[in-house]
């Protein structure tokens, strides 16, 4: 909100210069967004519009935080207690129909108006506050708002049907043309000011053309009212009109503030335009109660961790214009007393609000720091966090780089699959087409990483840990996933990644993982990035953890593979402790065997068959060579290495040969293998 340095300096002459004021305000009161010549842009907190969306309020704040009593403090307090209403026959009739949305309405009537230019000093202040001078009547309205914080509005009395103002909700089909010539359709929940027939203003937001004050205006009505903040906020957003008035009303003003607006405008209309009020109506059915709070110094000190004495806090309260009275005849010096906040301080509702005032005037910077006394309990990380950290360390130790991608995917995602589209979590207000849905998979991001980095690297090893989102039976599911890609220019990466995955599982303590082919279980959302003919499902303890697949649509000559794993399932399945396995006491025997089998046969099946062969001494089976060419005529050559090991004796060639024979027989029978 814009403030005039000239006016603030006039109200608090102790202000040294704009730079000093900026520093002071930001340390003790409000953040200053910027200074431009004599304009101060102050970031007012939403709960301080009641008192501080005004030069008087900000001046009070500046003075108090400087430790000076604000010179106008008493005068303003006195103004607030003044009667507004005049007696006798009123030329203006005001009715509040929507009593729930309008706590107070003051209408003041003046005659012999001569609309013209306003004096230079008013124009200067308005300009400093970023407002355009219009004419003396409108300028005075605006100036008083800047001074007091109360939004005011002037109607041309002669344009009111029946000399009436009615505060009511709009009727179906009503509309209004605003002062800046916008036609606005009104709905039944919107509060308006109307005459006997037509809407004249959108209450608290914007005046209408119909009762506009113009150069021919002779008689005016000044409105100083109080409207419901929620109603004003909703209407202002619905019609898309934000004004200085709506900004204030939407953030809760005291109905008492209307007194200041009415009296101050009367004073200025008189002194500047020589206008006399002929009648004032003030409809204020439920007067705002005084806010009296019980203050207990010991509680205040316990909350803040301070050691303030009564004298200090009392000084702070008085500087702010709060009044102090004894509580139940207890001497004030005992530290328990009643505090009455000025009527305009709508933010003060509870003793905690008073503690804030005290520490602010004292200065947060002057508060001593104190180590807390706490019950020592073992602190730690959630299981999921621990595993995430572990996975990251293992993967980086295996040479992988970590990336963070955006949580969104484009409006093209799954465009050819209605089922997938239906499961995507869509944004109501996407910021661009590129970021329309929440990502249902990490594959898209990682695929993009390979593409963009392929310009600079010949090999890429990257992973991401992040959330993915999808709708499952209309419920939004959020899953933490781990995605890994290995890609390289010219070389196959699938088995690298498969091996890496096994190492990862061992390192995080996940035993019993199986990987198997199952084209039915194609990952739901990664389909566009992987080859479903070259894909493995990863399963442990009957749960599908994710998939490992060869990627497709990579840059020319690039090969890549990808894994996605559900971190929540991993967290559930990993075992925390290792168990010692005795070291082998006897030497092992290694045998290689080369076979020629039909290319249809799967290495996984052959190895599994060997593992399960009738032998108690097979320690490990591994594939060490694979060879395929045209001469082999639809067959391929596979070389396996088998390690034999017994726990209780040194193996002899004799024993191993016997088992090897069994294995050979098995391979011949099951896979029609030729032994080479």
């Amino acid at each position: 909100m814009k403030f005039s340095y000239t006016l603030l300096k006039k109200l608090v002459p102790e202000i040294k210069n704009p730079k000093a004021l900026e520093e002071h305000l930001s340390l003790y009161a409000f953040e200053v967004d910027g200074i431009e010549e004599k304009t101060f842009d102050i970031k007012l907190p939403a709960n301080r519009y009641g008192d501080a969306a005004s030069h008087w309020g900000v001046a009070q704040e500046i003075a108090a935080t400087m430790g000076i009593r604000f010179s106008e403090q008493r005068a303003i307090a006195t103004l607030l207690t003044r009667q507004v209403t005049t007696t006798g026959k009123q030329p203006l009739s005001v009715t509040i129909e929507a009593k729930d949305l309008c706590a107070r309405y003051i209408g003041a009537y003046c005659e012999n108006v001569k609309v013209g230019e306003s004096p230079k000093w008013i124009k200067e202040i308005l300009t400093e506050c970023g407002m355009r001078p219009i004419n003396n009547v409108v300028d005075i309205m605006n100036y008083v708002m800047l001074e007091t914080g109360q939004p005011l509005h002037a109607f041309d009395y002669d344009k009111l049907e029946g000399g009436k103002l009615i505060v009511r909700r709009a009727r179906k089909g009503e509309s209004i043309v605003t002062l800046d010539d916008q036609e606005v359709s009104l709905t039944e929940d919107m509060l308006i000011i109307a005459d006997a027939k037509r809407p004249l203003a959108i209450a608290g937001i914007k005046g209408g053309k119909l009762a506009e004050v113009d150069t021919h205006t002779k008689r005016i009505v000044i409105e100083a009212a109080n409207f419901d903040p929620v109603s004003i906020y909703k209407t202002s957003r619905a019609v898309g009109i934000l004004t200085d008035a709506s900004a204030r009303f939407a953030r809760t003003l005291s109905p008492e503030l209307a007194t200041l607006g009415a009296i101050r405008s009367k004073m200025l209309l008189q002194s500047i335009m020589d206008l006399k009020q002929k009648g004032v109506v003030d409809i204020y059915p439920k007067k705002q109660a005084k806010k009296i709070l019980k203050f207990e110094l010991n509680r205040c000190n316990a909350f803040l961790g301070t050691a303030f004495d009564v004298k200090t806090v009392r000084t702070y309260f008085e500087l702010l214009g709060f009044t102090i009275t004894p509580f139940n005849k207890t001497p004030i010096a005992a530290g328990t007393f009643l505090v009455t906040a000025p009527a305009l301080r709508t933010d003060i509702e509870h003793p905690n609000d008073l503690y804030e005032e005290i520490v602010r005037l004292h200065g947060f910077g002057n508060l001593r720091s104190a180590a807390p006394y706490v019950h020592l309990v073992p602190s730690g990380f959630e299981d999921g966090v621990v595993l995430k950290d572990k996975v990251r360390r293992v993967l980086t130790s295996l040479g992988m780089d970590e990336v963070y991608n955006h949580s969104f995917v484009s409006d093209q995602f799954g465009h050819d699959d209605a089922d997938i589209r239906a499961e995507l979590v869509a944004l109501e207000n996407p910021i661009s087409k590129e970021y329309t849905f929440m990502r249902p998979t990490l594959a898209g991001g990682l695929h993009g990483n390979v593409e963009s980095n392929s310009r600079y690297f010949d090999a890429i090893a990257a992973f991401e840990v992040g959330r993915v989102f999808a709708k499952h039976k209309k419920e939004i599911k959020e899953n933490n996933m781990l995605g890994i890609v290995l890609a390289s220019k010219g070389t196959e990466q699938f088995f690298e990644l498969k091996g890496l995955l096994h190492e990862l599982f061992k390192r995080i303590g996940l035993n019993d993982v199986t990987m198997y082919e199952n084209a039915e279980q194609e990952p739901r959302f990664a389909g566009a990035y992987i080859s479903d003919q070259e894909m493995l499902c990863i399963e442990s303890d009957g749960e599908c953890l994710g998939y490992l697949a060869k990627m497709k649509h990579l840059p020319a000559k690039w090969h890549g593979s990808i894994v996605e794993l559900d971190m929540a399932l991993l967290t559930k399945l990993v075992v925390a402790e290792h168990e010692y396995v005795p070291l082998p006491k006897y030497p092992s025997i290694v045998r290689d065997i080369s076979v020629l089998v039909n290319t249809r046969e799967r290495v996984g099946d052959i190895m599994q068959a060997m593992q399960l062969a009738d032998s108690a001494i097979i320690e490990d089976v591994d594939l060490i060579d694979e060879y395929e060419n045209e001469k082999l005529d639809g067959k391929r050559s596979l070389t396996f290495r088998i390690i034999f090991q017994a726990e209780d004796r040194t193996l002899t060639d004799e024993i191993v040969n016997k088992d090897m024979e069994a294995i050979v027989a098995l391979l011949r029978k099951k896979f029609s293998a030729e032994i080479r």
Binding site: L27, F30, E31, P45, N47, Y233, K234, R251, F303, G305, T306, N352, Y355, E356, V359, F364, G365, L367, R368, A370, P372, V374, H375, L376, V377, S379, F381, E382, G384, V385, R392, L395, L398, G399, M400, D401, E402, V403, Y404, N405, H406, S407, F408, V425, A426, L427, E428, I431, Y435, M438, G448, N449, S452, Y456, I460, A462, R467, F469, I476, E478
Partner: protein
């Protein structure tokens, strides 16, 4: 006997001169130190000797053995180094390139933050990225139709999930959104736990705003919450000062605490720091004492417990720490960027 030893030594000295490669060296070693060597034979006679003789001969034999071992070792080293320049490696050659992977700078910063707070007895918990309006706003004392909501530019989730329609219209608190801050976890955690406790909550948050060098639509925050019967604002200052001094490794760091406004705290403060060499104050944190309405919303009695909460931008801290000029680099997936972070 002693002559025997001398002749072994002499014969060895002659033989060793003739060795020109490692194979010959091995033959020599077996001949002189092997199980069937003359020395070994001589030693086996030792047990037949008595007293002084035995001691004398033993001593002598050991001397010869040591001599053979030393000469053999030197010979081996010389043979192995043969053919290389001046028998020595050029130690000034560059080392072989070794590389492990790289953690993302945000992970590194998050880790550091977590470790510092862990050491101060804080625990680490995480929460969902898609939140309800209730947890993100209402329970945090940011009611619907209040202008305070405008402090957070929000991405809303499309759809009817959870929306209740009745006479009073839709219950808006059940709308889903992308959390605009990690503060909803304050509520979620407090609903399930009883003070005293102290936690931090790292996580990804979202803001509906145009991206530029210092704004992203998704970024990271670190939330903190400490609640107990006597946790004061002075305690907050202590914990936060200790944290930042450790994080930036600057015990002489300067602090500035300014009044601020967040509906879920009161009083609200903004924390600025100035490190050694900084010319300007850097805004690093928003914080305050947990608002009584928030404590009430989770069923606590604000007369019995109190505490502080804070939130800071992990991205911002990473950018300050590593002098990263543009937040978008963090989400670019550019490995040339990621691979810079080694230490």
């Amino acid at each position: 006997m002693v002559d025997k030893l001398s002749s072994i030594k002499a014969s060895f000295e002659a033989d060793v001169q003739l060795v020109t490669n490692l194979e010959q060296w091995e033959v020599l070693r077996v001949k002189y130190l092997g199980r069937k060597s003359q020395l070994s034979d001589a030693m086996s006679l030792l047990k037949d000797l008595s007293g002084d003789q035995r001691r004398d001969f033993g001593k002598h034999a050991n001397e010869v053995r040591t001599f053979l071992e030393v000469v053999l070792e030197d010979t081996r080293i010389a043979l192995e180094a043969k053919g290389t320049h001046a028998n020595r490696i050029d130690v000034t050659r560059p080392g072989t390139k070794k590389q492990t992977g790289h953690l993302h700078p945000l992970t590194r910063v998050e880790d550091e933050i977590k470790q510092i707070f862990l050491a101060m007895n804080f625990s680490v918990v995480e929460g969902p990225e898609i939140e309800t309006e209730h947890y993100n706003f209402d329970a945090l004392n940011v009611p619907a139709n209040h202008p305070a909501r405008e402090m957070w530019d929000t991405f809303w989730i499309k759809g009817e999930q959870g929306k209740q329609k009745g006479k009073t219209g839709p219950t808006e608190a059940l709308r889903y959104l992308l959390r605009t801050h990690t503060s909803p976890m304050q509520i979620r955690y407090m609903e399930k736990n009883t003070p005293p406790f102290q936690i931090i909550v790292p996580g990804r948050v979202f803001r509906y705003e145009a991206t530029d060098a210092s704004h992203e639509i998704n970024f990271y925050q670190m939330e903190g919450l400490m609640v107990g019967p006597h946790i004061s604002l002075a305690n907050f200052k202590y914990v936060i000062e200790e944290f930042f001094k450790k994080f930036f490794n600057d015990p002489a760091m300067q602090f500035r605490f300014r009044p601020s406004y967040f509906p879920f705290v009161e009083p609200g403060v903004e924390v600025d720091i100035k490190r050694k060499g900084d010319s300007k104050w850097l805004e690093v944190m928003g914080a305050g004492m947990v608002h009584r309405n928030v404590l009430k919303a989770v069923g606590y009695n604000p007369e019995e417990v109190q505490g502080f909460a804070f939130g800071m931008g992990t991205d911002r801290l990473a950018m300050l720490k590593y002098k990263i000029p543009d937040i978008r680099l963090l989400y670019s997936g550019d490995l040339r960027f990621i691979q810079q972070f080694k230490k």
